[in-house]
């Protein structure tokens, strides 16, 4: 049974600004389906008396005080950026022509 449809992959690709061709849509739908299937097996071992868990440790309220710490310099911050302009990260066009 296929849980992930081609349409869903196409929708996700659009949100991700990824251009996938027809072949890739089928390819990824099958792969994602396998991944979702593998994760779904967790549900088989989780009995009704096991509460859903989001964190591995039984911790709450881990806070830090409101204190300023040193920052990076702009040179350090931008050193890994593929493109820089005016001390800012330069990124490709965000919206396509259709937006």
């Amino acid at each position: 049974m296929s849980a992930i449809t081609r349409d869903e992959v196409a929708h996700l690709a659009r949100l991700s600004r990824l251009a996938l061709d027809e072949g890739e849509l089928d390819h990824f739908a099958a792969q994602l389906d396998q991944i979702v299937g593998a994760v779904a097996r967790v549900a088989e071992v989780a009995a009704g008396d096991i509460p859903p868990s989001s964190h591995a440790l039984p911790l709450t309220n881990v806070f830090r005080p409101d204190e300023v710490r040193p920052c990076l310099t702009p040179q350090q911050a931008l050193s890994g950026a593929p493109a820089v302009e005016d001390d800012r990260f330069r990124v490709p066009r965000i919206l396509g022509e259709e937006a």
């Binding site: 929708h11 949100l15 991700s16 600004r17 989001s54 964190h55 440790l57 911790l59 709450t60 309220n61 881990v62 806070f63 830090r64 005080p65 409101d66 204190e67 300023v68 710490r69 040193p70 920052c71 990076l72 310099t73 702009p74 911050a77 931008l78 890994g80 302009e85 005016d86 001390d87 800012r88 990260f89 330069r90 990124v91 490709p92 066009r93 965000i94 919206l95 937006a99």
Partner: protein, 495 residues
Amino acid sequence: MPYDEALERFEPVLGLETHVELGTVSKMFCGCSTTFGAPPNTHVCPICLALPGSLPVANVKAIESTIRIGLALNCSIAEWCRFARKNYFYPDMPKNYQISQYDEPLCTDGYLDVQVEGKTVRVEIERVHLEEDTGKSTHVGGATGRIQGADYSIVDYNRAGIPLVEIVTKPVEGTDRLAPEVAKAYVTELRELLRSLGVSDVRMEEGSLRCDVNVSLMPRGSSTWGTRTETKNVNSLRSVERSVRGEIERQAAILADGGRIIQETRHFHEDTGATTSGRSKEEAQDYRYFPEPDLVPIAPDPAWVATLKAELPELPSVRRARIQEEWGVSDLDMAAMHNAGAIGLVEATVAAGAPAADARKWWMGELARRANESGTALADLPITPGDVAKVTELVASGALNDKLARQVLEGVLAGEGTPEAVVEKRGLRIVNDEGELSAIIDQVLAGNADAADKVRSGKIAAVGALVGGVMKASRGKADAGRARELILEKLGVEG
């Protein structure tokens, strides 16, 4: 469609989402400074740049501020809740997600009462949650500097990670034609409340308070809500009102033509008051929210929440009621002061020693008029409550009359210095020297023999013209009451 016609046919439903940047000194999940206006990318670190291996830790002051906002809005505070990842692909966050809260907000189910045209409208609060602000993008290329048509964008992440509280109302129904006023009154009251809590500097022009306005229409007699639009970029109280009005008119025209409203984000344009279409809204599922694994849950200690509640300051609505009682002001005058943003100024002037009635008279009279003329807010006039208190003191002591006091205020506003300095420089003190006053009166009597004769013959009313003459000759600096006495004395008439 004209507003009146739109309201005859449709009923508006409002919703307001307000984002407030908290006034913490450091960011939500790291120790970077939150100071506004720093050079680009100087307040960034591995955590807010999402460099591999970095982990966020929540700022306790931001949690505390959010709980205090919730308490002030009569909300329930969650006993246990989590942060969530909101995934999306705009580069305004370097992580490709924003840490927010989704189905477990810190505060839920509250309300804020606002006054509109003498009536109390209860705006119910759906939720108050905590998230992080995004970076600032500048769009390069294209004609408008907007994201549409840009060739590329450049991003400054100084703002990314500043704690941001989102306050969401439930749909507000039944406002009818007052929808724009209710929206404005709500944001005004909320801003005052936040200011009194000291949790944010709530400056709309700097973006530390931002408002998204949701509007939908339903035909009169229907109870099914229409499709809503969300207008962003509403950056002043006046714009809140205008954007609601404009959106009601726009949607009514489409619906009346048999058209359909598209659920979308719209951008408000301050200059024209119109909105234009933005992107169509993503559905919540497109954001693929899930619990943030890098942050452990928050479980506020009930004792802590109780302490925060007990230590809340006097809230603005309570304060207004108290002040109205103390000053003995009518509802109408109180509302006028509230709308003019004068209450705090009058209060500070009273604290500086002025009687409440005098403080109110100057702020709501001469100073309100001048603020209006120059198109500035009363609070932005270059005069302090202390200055105004000094002027009332000078009037009370007899050194100034109202006319001279107005000139003193004018001098202070023009940057000529303190009230005393203006009095000195402009020579505005009332003529108290009897000899000088007497000389002026003699001069006026000599030049107005007819009026003087009338007074001598018993027509006391004619003395007004003579007093007027004295005031004119002294350029307003004579004490009119004393001048009248001296004139009658000189003419041998009993006052």
